[in-house]
Amino acid sequence: MKINKTVENGRLIIKLEGRLDTITAPELQDALIPAFDIAKDIALDFSDLTYVSSAGLRVLLMGQKTAKSKGAVMTVSNVSEEIMEVFEMTGFTEALTII
């Protein structure tokens, strides 16, 4: 998985490319969780993400909890139909802010 961070108008955009699975989820955790110390608005761009497993969901939930506890916002955008189905079966469509 590739992780690309950019800042646009005060918002940190984290673009993911590839697969978010057991092997790569720790990379997202390292990129995302400490970022809440400096950013109050983090947008995860899933346009080039092809796969999310439960290990990936765990990190997304951790991100959402961290955002809440730090008074920050975390959004997820450009979710593919396949990944959306995984979000739907686990109730993540409600737990996350998907735009």
Binding site: S54, I83, M89, A95
Partner: protein, 138 residues
């Protein structure tokens, strides 16, 4: 007649890609849709990683992954010689809770049950055998 393919591999998380590649090859030749391929991969990842983390801990042992494909869909069987453990007995998480109310984790086996049409565990001759089946590959 069902077609059978088998992969025997060390149960370590580093081997996850090899397991997923093996299974996807079979799903592709069975004309499985992209959506269903991804969902089955999610289920396979969960079970294999579970075996890698818990079956032989703190040592490492082997696992067999068998894929049967036929007119009635795809059946995948996982076998390991580790500690007897039925992951299907794990209680389902409450997926209606908000992010703050939820525990981190516990979703994996729940997803396996949601994705697959049939899941079955048995302990036989000192082996854990977990079988998952998906009838419709559309």
């Amino acid at each position: 007649m069902k077609k059978l393919k088998e992969l025997i591999i060390d149960a370590r998380t580093e081997n996850l890609d090899a397991v997923l590649d093996f299974v996807s090859e079979e799903l592709e030749s069975a004309d499985c849709s992209v959506k269903t391929q991804m969902q089955i991969a999610v289920a396979v990842e969960e079970i294999f990683v579970n075996i890698a983390h818990y079956a032989y801990n703190p040592t490492v042992g082997g696992a067999a992954v068998r894929v049967y494909s036929g007119d009635d869909g795809i059946t995948i069987e996982f076998e390991d010689g580790g500690k007897p453990y039925n992951p299907l007995e794990k209680a389902d998480p409450d997926v209606s809770l908000s992010a703050e109310e939820r525990d981190i984790g516990g979703l994996g086996i729940f997803m396996v049950k949601k994705i697959m049409d049939e899941t079955e565990y048995r302990h036989e001759n000192g082996k854990n055998i977990l079988t998952i089946k998906k009838s419709s590959l559309l």
